[in-house]
Amino acid sequence: MNEDPLKIAQGWLADGRDVALATVIETWGSAPRKTGSHLVIDGEGNFEGSVSGGCVEGAVVYGAMDVIESGKPQVLEFGVADETAWEVGLSCGGKVMVYLEKIK
């Protein structure tokens, strides 16, 4: 089993790192991760966990830098491209909405 992203966040905070938490809050169609799934990101752009099959993590990590700096939560919305959805074994594109916040 993969390690729990929340536990990883706790470890990072203990090391004095800045940490942002991304959570899938809505999905449409065949999105690969269910609501409630977490991705954690530190101030250097390291990340663990997932909010999709790998296609939107880059954008979420980028957004996390903003959220870490401003301290303000953001809501991001993504359509999963068809070819990406196909790669993760889905027959059609899905959509995900992600809530991004800093852990303070």
Binding site: L6, Q10, T23, I25, K34, P73, E101, I103, K104
Partner: protein, 224 residues
């Protein structure tokens, strides 16, 4: 998320206690929910619906949009009796994401070869009980037919409010079992919670089919 909410969620998950984080999406305000916590009027009903459906979700209320993130313990299955039915049940329960513990003091049955990749105790339930930790997210299934082995864990499962308690055996066997359990102090209401004869009535006629009937009944108890 506040750091102290994160710490609390991790600690509750470790203890297998259900909790939820409710976030107001526009303001970022958060509430940590635990059993018996009373929520605002706007949140109470949609929260209960989400909890019943066991699904984290976004909701619209008069007070704005919220996201309810449920952290529910994974369901667990404790099987008393490392028998043939248990072998079939384990392979299907694994597919359904159940964490599995098998207990059978008969060491000829309780072998890792017969049950690879599960937690297995070739000991009396009473002797290893501290490791088992029954709770409301656990199903207990007694399959040995032997009162010396089955009765005690059945009683413990009822006390722990396991979401499913089932025991193999005919109506007649179960009648005698109920008499014994009643004599050791189990109430009539509690006895009625035991599924026996075990499994949905699908005319199961061999160990694999009985395992299907049991798993279906466990899932029914978990979801409905």
């Amino acid at each position: 998320m506040k750091h102290d909410i994160l710490s609390e969620v991790l600690s509750l998950r470790e203890q297998r206690i259900a909790c939820a984080v409710i976030t107001h999406i526009e303001t970022g305000e958060q509430i940590l929910w635990q059993k018996d916590k009373v929520l605002s009027d706007a949140l109470q009903v949609p929260f209960e619906q989400a909890l019943r459906a066991r699904k984290s979700q976004r909701i619209e209320t008069e007070a704005g949009q919220y996201f309810i993130n449920l952290y529910l313990p994974e369901p667990r299955m404790v099987i008393i009796g490392a028998v043939h039915i248990a072998q079939a049940l384990v392979s299907m329960a694994k597919l359904s994401d159940y964490e599995i513990i098998i207990i059978d003091p008969r060491t000829a049955f309780a072998t890792q070869e017969r049950f690879p990749d599960v937690t297995l105790y070739g000991e009396w339930p009473q002797d290893i009980w501290d490791n088992v930790k029954l709770d409301a997210h656990t199903a207990l299934i007694a399959l040995t037919h032997d009162p010396k082995v089955d009765d005690w864990p059945l009683q413990k499962a009822l006390e722990a409010d396991c979401f499913y308690v089932g025991a193999l055996g005919s109506r007649k066997t179960h009648g005698k079992r109920c008499e014994r359990l009643a004599a050791s102090g189990v109430s009539e209401t509690a006895l009625e919670r035991i599924h026996a004869p075990i499994g949905l009535n699908i005319g199961a006629s061999n160990p694999v089919e009985i395992a299907v009937a049991i798993l279906a009944q466990v899932i029914e108890a978990h979801r409905i």
